[in-house]
Symmetry: C2
């Protein structure tokens, strides 16, 4: 659908100009200079020719078809221009102008007018407030960044300066480049997820590289990302994490900055490689575009000196990547070719063994790469610089090794990455490695991050379940009784379910909870209580949400006197708290036994839609913020992972000789919450707090469900 936009065969420049400082001049100049393969139609009522091309007074005067209009005129002119474009049956537009929502209400109105005009006239557009777009395959350069190298990375970027940064980096590194660059701008029409779909289906794109400040359709983006990342990796930097960062992003493009923890969980679930350090963004994309993913989360390090190996081992440990001991056979073979002082465990240190002939590096790599424990190899140190540092003649051996590295990557489907101190020097051996698509970096930090991203992507591919996705099958398991509970609340004008209603809803779907019974009188309370045993009494009123604050809760009551007194006091306290309260009675429920307190909540994230949170309860754990998030719906594997991803999960298995807790019931309860959200789209958020977990079973002790307003 975006084909005519991103692969346009003809471009009209609306606002073409002879003034060299104007975008409408520069765009034509760049298209000519880069050798755009399609037609270029300058449009300006006042000119006849620009840069040797016929200039049209109006877009309708153009004889041929126009796929794309590059509009360089000011914001207020856009709606009219889109109308003219519609008459010409233009498929798409790139709107450069700023001055829309980023300027406040008035700009917002204008932006809406632009969107409306585009829709009415069947035009899809990029921007506004964008630096433009480049298709490097057809040399359609609508940005004016020169010398962007062709390659296999698609770049989606919400900041012109970051695009310039990444393209400049690619130019300096002289290896990998881009298929497309799209400056997403305000994302008013074409959204991130649509670009993603397009790049998924583009055969030349191997990796999608994204810089995101804000996004408007998070859920759809996740769904497309989920479909995409199984085919090709998505590398993403989300900025605006911090309060000041948001302030900064807010003054530019972008709408909503995702809450960090939820966003992290969401992106991870969709298989996206999230980057936090901008230095790593391009190298990681480059590595993923060329190297096979690592399947067993393990790497071997080959070093020609201690320091680099030690630093790399530390960093890789931080990433939780395994550095397996090499097999006996591997160690023996290495021993046979390396000096006595060499270390043949992992990291392998050649200890001067390569000083006389660096082609020995290839012999070592060949031995190590065959080891079945090893998922890939990171070479660290001076490789590629022996000819520079020691003696020119050594360069020959390095070049021979580089050729063999290239052959081995191809044959073994295991990645080789090279850290070299001499990465920015002139080195034929390193150029050869680049030719063979082997990543070369002079930063240990970045080399290790690249290894980590290959592991992360490999782990994701292994754990991918085609069945789970981000699409809701709304109402699929709703129950008649459940609908009735919600309808009743709606009819009463409530958007909060009463505690016993919420618990009933949970129970309907198989959740373990003692709902209790509502007593309207003191006598009823005692009648219920004497069959229950030790009781808790809680006020039932749609006007009192914070039951404890109103002193509307009494714990651990048993005798008739306690129950009757309790009932009276609760009613009295509640009326004192809110004399107008509509009091429905008092909920009588059995006291929960001691167990492990946990909390489960769902909410509707502004960006990603329904998400769920799980964590241990209690004040201390709340302070530690030891919780995990997941974007709903959940799979059984996801329930397991949510629990495992808390630091406190060891408690559930039992520590210090204590018996463990019923993780199966817990997983089931998380699933039930997911099912509830799917069954009743009316639910805005749920709060199960606390849930008491036992060795066998659990009890949802309190629950609150809030409906959408």
């Amino acid at each position: 659908m975006l084909d005519k936009v991103l692969n346009a065969k003809s471009v009209a420049i609306i606002g073409a100009s002879k003034n060299k400082t104007k975008r409408g001049y520069q765009a034509i100049k760049t298209l000519l200079a880069d050798g755009f393969e399609g037609e270029i139609y300058p449009v300006n009522p006042k000119e006849d020719k620009i840069l040797g091309l016929t200039c049209y007074r109006d877009i309708m005067d153009i004889e041929g078809d126009v796929d794309l209009a590059l509009i360089t005129t000011p914001a207020r002119t856009i709606p009219d221009i889109l109308k003219r474009c519609g008459q010409k049956k233009v498929a798409g537009a790139v709107i450069i102008a700023g001055g829309f929502r980023e300027l406040g209400d008035k700009g917002k109105e204008l932006e809406q007018a632009v969107v409306k005009a585009a829709q009415k006239n069947g035009i899809r557009f990029i921007g506004p407030n964008t630096s433009g777009m480049i298709n490097l395959k057809t040399n359609m350069n609508l940005v004016g960044i020169q010398n962007a190298p062709l390659g296999n990375i698609a770049l989606l970027c919400q900041s012109g300066n970051m695009a310039l940064t990444l393209i400049t980096e690619a130019t300096i590194r002289k290896h990998e480049g881009f298929t497309y660059y799209v400056g997403v701008g305000n994302e008013s029409d074409i959204k991130f997820h649509e670009y993603l779909e397009f790049f998924r289906n583009d055969p030349d794109t191997k990796v999608i590289l994204m810089y995101v400040e804000g996004m408007s359709e998070g859920r759809k983006f996740l769904q497309e990302a989920y479909k995409t990342s199984i085919k090709k990796p998505i590398v993403l930097l989300k900025s605006g994490r911090s309060a000041t960062g948001k302030r900064s992003a807010g003054s530019h493009t972008g709408s909503l900055a995702g809450v960090s923890e939820v966003a992290k969980a969401a992106y991870a679930r969709a298989g996206i490689i999230v980057i936090e350090n901008s230095d790593e963004l391009f190298p990681v994309a480059e590595t993923l575009s060329s190297q096979p993913p690592i399947k067993n989360n393990s790497i071997a390090i080959l070093a020609d000196g201690g320091g680099h190996a030690t630093i790399a081992a530390d960093l890789l440990s931080d990433y939780k990547i395994f550095m397996p001991q090499l097999s006996d056979k591997t160690q023996e073979q290495l021993r046979a070719i390396l000096p006595e002082a060499a270390s043949v465990v992992n990291p392998v240190d050649v200890a001067g063994g390569t000083d006389a002939d660096p082609s020995l590096f290839a012999d070592c790599v060949k031995i190590i790469i065959k080891d079945p424990n090893v998922g890939g190899i990171l070479v660290v140190g001076l490789f590629g610089g022996y000819g520079i540092r020691f003696d020119k003649s050594l360069a020959i051996g390095e070049e021979a090794a580089a050729h063999r590295f290239g052959a081995m990557v191809k044959k073994r489907k295991k990645p080789i990455l090279v850290h070299s101190l001499y990465s920015s020097h002139e080195s034929r051996a390193l150029d050869l490695l680049r030719h063979y698509d082997i990543p070369v970096h002079d930063s240990l930090d970045i080399s290790c991050k690249c290894v980590a991203s290959l592991c992360q992507y490999g782990n994701y591919l292994k754990s991918y379940h085609a069945k789970t996705n981000f699409v809701f099958n709304w109402k699929n398991r709703a129950k008649e009784k459940g609908n009735l509970i919600i309808e009743t609340a709606r009819q009463e004008g409530r958007h909060v379910l009463l505690e016993h209603e919420a618990k009933q809803l949970i129970k309907l779907h198989g959740g373990q909870t003692d709902v209790g019974q509502v007593a309207k009188t003191e006598n009823e309370a005692w009648e219920i209580a004497k069959k229950t045993g030790n009781c808790v009494l809680k006020i039932v009123s749609p006007d009192i949400l914070h039951k404890s604050d109103s002193r509307g809760v009494k714990l651990n009551l048993g005798s008739e006197k306690e129950i009757r007194n309790g009932f009276q006091q609760i009613i009295k306290n509640s009326l004192a708290y809110n004399p107008q309260a509509d009091i429905r009675g008092v909920l009588v429920a059995p006291m929960a036994q001691k167990g492990l307190e946990i909390i489960i909540g769902t909410k509707t994230d502004e960006l990603f839609g329904p998400v769920i949170m799980y964590g241990l309860g209690g004040i201390m754990v709340e302070i530690m913020k030891d919780v995990t998030f997941w974007v709903l719906p959940v799979s059984p594997a996801a329930c397991r992972k949510m629990i495992e991803d808390t630091r406190s999960s060891v408690l559930l298995d039992g520590v210090r000789g204590q018996s463990g807790y019923d993780k199966k019931s817990l997983r089931k309860l998380i699933s039930i919450c997911s099912e509830l959200i799917e069954s009743y789209p009316d639910i805005e958020e749920m709060d199960l707090n606390p849930v008491i977990l036992y060795e066998q079973g659990l009890d949802v002790v309190d629950a609150r469900i809030i409906l959408k307003k």
Copy 2:
């Protein structure tokens, strides 16, 4: 004391050679090529002349004084050579050879022989197993790394490859360089702390840059670092943090890899700037060597585009650096010179305002730097590249701005740092910034880390207390009764104090604890208990350390029957657990009331000596590992900081309407532990677990003290 070694005026090359591949040839060649200002004496019995210099058969044949001997011969020859050097009254030596402790027991023996020979002959030496040493001020290059630039950073490095990495980086960056490089090697004689002392007193050294794998005298190092970092910053990367990293470091130089959490606390306390990413090591040192520290932990960002500002704001927030709103006056002044779309809060975005004339950057910086809320400025974006990216003519304005930046740093004593996409391009403006000692980086990550290090150093200088240091005033407050308790244990051949002894010791120094009384019989137990109220009974036996494991503890006993039964059962259980146990009786102590459980422990770290740990108790908190460490002794400020540095410290202040806990008593107890360690050097470790903290006061409920063996 190291002056004659590091500032030697004459060097003898023992093992001088005509063979070009030998170190003994290369060293002489480098000294000649670099123009060493002192005397060079080749020593080799078989040669007459090497590289035009007279070669001596024996060191004794040299007419002049010899300050330093560079010994390039194999390991086994060293002790004899040192003897000859001693006869010649040589002050120091650099021992290149490997083959010592890193090869196991035999190597260790040889290393000890070398140390002994050196001591006997009054020679201080660097190494062994080192790449050598360079004094860049006198061109005494004993390493063979060429083109190392002179500057004001002293480099202490425990890996030849890391030294090469850092020196190469300095060469590429073409700005900052070194006063000295010392390859510390096995640190057998001259230790890290001695080098530190030397560099502290070297007027040309402004920053000390360290790469450490292992260290042998941690406490002395901390003490010297403490004295040094108040005068000049120490920047340190400690590798071998991870298990694999240690394995890697172990196969090379270095002895003991410090435990990470303790090491972090120790280094921080000594004011050391600890770096974890090796890419940041040199840039941070360079920045600290040239820029004034930031005094109020705050920075302003000046940007010419959204993306960079947002990313920088995120990173700086991660470092907990404050980005203050600019004052009204500052905002007004910026408004007056910037276009309407500009953002004049912090980050400031010029929004195209500099496009026509980048000298406007200097106007903005001038306005912002005067704002009293602002501690420094980070310029991010394209500065220095306007002439490259847009139009050559713009370079003039950039150069004018660069000159003004330089003048402002000098005048205002506030740092300016520049991130520029064009850092590795040819740019006169950026060269000018470097001339004015303004750090320029093309990495946002590194720029922000440099800002963070200026803040960290500034914060340290502000919080520095001259009174606290790492020196113990051993036994300064020991008490006679306390000594008696320890002596008693010693006389009985015990290295563990019994619980009541440990508690008595704590109480002697003012700690709040109910020691209880030891009952030898059931009757005695009841006699004590009836005066006590609710009791806990615990077995007292030097042979039973884990009282609970032996079922030797009974809680919450009150009645005569409970006490008598309890006493009997404890004795019975304990004898069943260990029939040979020397049972001294049963400790009868009052049951502690409910409160907040905390733990305090001290241990003797192999590297740093006595350290203390504080944290909340209870299983959950143990799982969360929410504890802080400090190297003893502690100051009152340290006690406060230890408590504040736990995430759980908010609990102590009272949350959710709960009242808080007695932090004053807690701080006092931490001080008392410090005092105990100083008073009784015999103590190896203490474990106060649990301590129950109340609204008023606290109670040390259980305590264990272990003496040195």
